[in-house]
Every structure is written in C-alpha cells, then in structure tokens.
C-alpha cells in the first residue's frame, strides 16, 4: 500500500473520531468568536492610532486571531496520543507494515482540517464588521497557518508519546503557550512595545507567522516579512515532523 493510501486511511480514521465528537468542533469556534465579540470592540478606538496603520482595526486583529487558532488547533494532539498509547492502539499499529510518518501525519492532517474550517467561518463572519481580507493573500495566509498547525500538532504528539503523562504534557504546553502568544504580538501589534520587548519577540517563531499573516491579509504578498514567515515556519515544520516521526518509531509503552 502506498504512503498516500495509508495516509488517506489514517486521516479518515482521525476525521471520523472528530466528526463523532462535534463538541470539539463547536469549542474550536467559540474561542475566536468570543474574541471577536468581547475583545475586538475594545480595539475600536485604537483605529488609525499607532500600530494600526491599515484602515480598520480588524485588519490587524483578525490575522492575529487566525494565528492564535492555528496555534491552538494542534496542541490537543498530545492528549489524544497519550490515550492511544495507553489503550495499545499505537502499539498495535506499529506491528503493521504501516509507515510511522503516515501514522503521525494522519492526525496532523486532521488537525489541519479542524483548523481550516472554523478559520474560514471567522474570516467570513468578520467581513460585515469591517474586515477587508485580500483574497489571494488570505489563501496564502491559510497555507502558512496550516504549516503552523502541523508544527504544533506534531510537536504536541511527540511530547505526548515521549512523556506519556498528561500532567507533564499539560505543564510543558501551558508553560510555553502564554510566553509564545504574548511575544508574538497576536493580540496587540508589537509596534506598540518598547525596544527590548520587540527584540525578544524575534526568538518566537510565532512572531514571524503573525507578521507574515498581517501582510498577507492586507495583500502585501511580496513583503519580506511574508518570505521570512514562510521560511521560519516551513523549516520548523520539517524539523518537528522528522522528530515526531522518530518518536513514533521508538514509542514503547
């Protein structure tokens, strides 16, 4: 069986899992919509002020929210993997000829889908409220963010399979989530930040994703921030996928 064939089977197994627990789909949508409803209004007055150069506030804010969604979409993977290690599913699949990479990618692609669908909903819902997304730019933006999902999903799965303990996984994930989010300038543009904070942001890969996203959404596809964002995130995705595949290969329980 080809890698692609295996991938399709394993991805569909994961999709069925998601479709049968639609509560997660709903949960995935509530967070961004709550931000839109309860946080975006706070930004209205800032329109035209420093950091919000492009017209409406939402044009700065929505790309950030999309990055936040991408970042969160993959993070649950580790919990599911721990469950699968515990119930012996991973072990059973490892005694078949199936590729370990396909095993990992099946769940990564599920996370990509569960990101893209609510992301499109958020984009469409925001338009009547003053969001002006550039069409081609938004397509590229979603591609970039799918790579972000791949990074977090593979990273979380690798951690889960290595730590094999929900408590430790939760500690690592939540411990990193807040600083990475704050430093990336997701909620407010970092142009508002003092110099040292802006400098520090450069060690946060999410920062590059956020910068690229704002340009893409505005249609500045040729901006150097876009290329940088793709480079940083693609390199990170490659590294994470290789590492996570190794973890699947070595998994013992």
């Amino acid at each position: 069986m080809t890698l692609l064939g295996q991938l399709r089977l394993l991805w569909w197994r994961k999709m069925l899992e998601t479709l049968r627990a639609p509560v997660w789909v709903v949960m995935g949508l509530t967070t961004p919509l709550l931000y839109l409803a309860l946080f975006a209004p706070l930004l209205r007055r800032l329109g035209g002020g420093p950091g919000f150069a492009h017209g409406g506030v939402l044009d700065t804010f929505i790309p950030g929210i999309l990055v936040l969604m991408a970042f969160g979409s993959g993070m649950g993977a580790g919990w599911i993997v721990i469950d699968e290690v515990r119930t012996g599913v991973i072990e059973r699949l490892r005694v078949t000829p199936v590729s370990r990479f396909a095993l990992l990618l099946g769940s990564v692609l599920r996370d990509v889908v569960t990101f893209v669908v609510p992301a499109l909903v958020v984009v469409v819902v925001s338009i009547p409220f003053g969001y002006h997304p550039h069409t081609a730019g938004t397509v590229l933006l979603l591609v970039l963010l799918c790579l972000v999902v791949a990074v977090t999903s593979a990273w979380s799965a690798a951690l889960g399979i290595t730590l094999r303990d929900i408590g430790s996984l939760a500690a690592v994930v939540t411990g990193l989530q807040l600083p990475l989010t704050l430093l990336s300038g997701i909620l407010l543009p970092l142009s508002l930040a003092p110099g040292w904070l802006r400098g520090l942001a450069h060690v946060d890969p999410l920062y590059y994703a956020v910068q690229a996203s704002r340009h893409l959404s505005a249609g500045d596809v040729a901006d150097v921030a876009v290329a940088t964002g793709f480079l940083v995130i693609a390199a990170l995705a490659a590294l994470t996928l290789v590492w996570a595949t190794r973890c699947y290969r070595a998994a013992t329980a």
Binding site: L9, E17, T87, G88, V89, E91, R94, P97
Partner: protein, 339 residues
C-alpha cells in the same frame, strides 16, 4: 526452518533484554530459548514480572533485542523487522482496539493497512465476525464494549491478515469465568482452523486447557518446557487428600502413622486435612487403603489428584505461582522435592 520434520514458526535463542533502572539495570529477560511449531498453541506461563511481555515485545519487533536471535516464519527479527510485521499478529496486554471507532471500522482499517483491498478486507472481517462471534456488537463503537467483547475484537484484529503466528499477551486477564471460557472455545476453534498461537498467561488452568506445549518462565529464564502432561509427569507424584472421621485417630496421629509407610514421599497437614505425595497412584492407593484398614482409621474424605502445573512451577522454582489467583485442588505449600 525445519527441525526433526516439524516446521518451526518461531525459533529464538538466547534472547536477552535489560532496562535501565535505579540501582543498576533490570534484567527482564536473561537468555530465553523458544520454539513454536506450526499449528500449535504454545503457552508462556509465568508470574507477574517474569518477563513474558518483554519477550513478546522483542519478538513482535516493538523492542530492540539486546542479545540473542529470533526467526519467525524464516525471517530474522533483528535483520528484517518490517517483513516480520507482515507475518505476525500481535494482541498486546493492554488491548489495542481504537475505542472511538466501531469494531468493523477497526477490522477494515487493520486489513487495509496490511494491504488488503476494500473488498478482501470486508470478506475477511465477515469471516472473523463469525469465528469470534462479534455479530451482535461489531457495528457499535468499541468504547461501549464489555471486557470480553473488546478482547474478542482485539483477537480478530490480530488475525485480519491471516498471520503465520498470532501473539496473544494475557488474552483472558480481567475476564469473568464465563467470558474466559468463551474465549477459550474460540481460541480452540482458531487452532482447529490451523492458526498458530503463542499466548502468555499467568493462569495455570489456561495453559493446561489451551496449550499443546508450554514454557514456564520465571525471573527472565525458561525453567521448564514441554507438553502439560510431560511437565506434570516430571513432577512424578500424585497427591492424596485425607480427612479422618470421628474416632481416636486425630489428623496428627494419622500423619505420624502414614509417614512411616515406604510409599509416602511427603506429607503436609493443613487444618484437619492431610496431603500426601505418593508415587504412581493406581498402584499405591490400594496399599494406602490397606494400611488405613489395618490401623482401623475411619475417613471422612479421601481423594486422589494428578499433579498440576502449579506443582511443576513449585518444583522448578521453589515458589508457588500465587500471583495466578486461581484456586487449586491442592494448596501449594509443599517444599521442594529433591529431584
């Protein structure tokens, strides 16, 4: 691989595995030799922590082998693990069913990952639904199954690609007696269809009831190997249980009296019941009865029982297989018999 006209599905020699642990490495498996022949049910019996799962995981390509060699269906496990995976089924101790999916989805996916077409996988799944009696629940989500139903599904998963050898790690642990008996029947049915099975267990009755041949493992070493009958014959004795009736002969006095008889190898008193180990029961029993008559002993109970695998375990390791948690006809507390 053929030895003495019998084809070996599995041949392992000198298997070793140690894990890093506090205060030095834990030697989980310390030089295990095994042979499993085509068509047989091979039992791997041992108490908790004996090294059964570790051995199985090495054979199933899940754990690297520290030392030794293993061939399954002619394929070297260390050299070509991918090919071995095509030839074995593996049902782990913790399970392996994908709980959010239905039983049938589990079966179809397993078949297809092994390279079967959709139609072939569906046919094979139907077959296994019959053999393992999954019909009632196979289209429900596995999360809703009872322990016995789940175990049957897992056995079926291991069989989807008709492997040359099926590994079952403690297939009936945690099942109630009814479910255990059912699964035994189904495993016998599989054997009758030619499936070769390697199962681990810490239940003596299970090894006795299912295994054509078995190896007893203790602390990482195989301490005995053979058919259940051969192993029991090695112990070479049978046990007589006696309980004196009302009268002047107390159990204590009865013991003193019988200890003098040349055919009694050993005796042990537990409460008011006396256990004697004797040689060949059919010849010795009449002499025992004659001796009892001579001393005018009245009996409340007398019974003769063949040696059990527990006796084998006790004899080879000097310890009782207590972890098994099975009730045995004869409480095992006899001291080691000089060989």
């Amino acid at each position: 691989m053929t030895v003495g006209g019998m084809s070996n599905v599995l041949a392992a020699k000198g298997l070793r595995k140690s894990f890093p642990g506090r205060g030095g490495p834990v030697e989980a498996v310390r030089g295990v030799d095994l042979r499993v022949r085509a068509g047989e049910v091979f039992g791997f019996l041992g108490p908790n922590g004996a090294g059964k799962t570790t051995t199985l995981r090495m054979l199933a390509t899940l754990l690297p082998i520290d030392a030794g060699s293993a061939h399954i269906a002619g394929v070297d496990v260390r050299r070509d693990p991918a090919e071995v995976r095509r030839r074995i089924g593996y049902v782990g101790q913790v399970g392996g069913a994908d709980l959010p999916a239905t039983g049938r989805e589990n079966l179809l996916l397993q078949g297809r990952l092994h390279g079967a077409s959709r139609a072939a996988a569906a046919r094979r799944a139907d077959e296994l639904v019959d053999v393992l009696a999954l019909g009632e629940f196979v289209d429900r989500r596995a999360a809703t199954y009872s322990g016995g139903q789940r175990r049957r599904l897992e056995v079926a998963l291991g069989l989807m690609h008709s492997p040359a050898l099926l590994f079952l790690d403690e297939p009936t642990t945690g099942l109630d007696p009814q479910n255990r008996a059912n699964l035994w029947d189904q495993l016998r049915a599989l054997r009758a269809r030619g499936t070769t099975i390697f199962l681990t267990t810490h239940y003596l009755e299970e090894a006795d009831a299912l295994a054509d041949r078995l190896a007893i493992i203790d602390r990482g070493r195989v301490v005995a190997e053979g058919t259940p009958a051969e192993l029991k014959r090695q112990v070479g004795g049978e046990t007589v249980l006696l309980r004196p009736g009302p009268g002047p002969t107390t159990p204590d006095r009865l013991r003193t009296l019988l200890d003098e008889q040349p055919f009694v190898r050993e005796s042990r008193l537990a409460g008011d019941t006396l256990y004697l180990t004797i040689g060949d029961g059919s010849r010795t029993l009449p002499r025992l009865l004659a001796a009892l008559a001579e001393h005018q002993v009245t009996l409340e109970t007398i019974s003769l029982s063949a040696p059990s695998l527990d006796d084998v375990f006790l004899r080879t390791t000097g310890r009782a297989l207590r972890d098994a948690g099975t009730s045995l006809a004869v409480p095992a507390a006899r001291q080691e018999v000089p060989a």
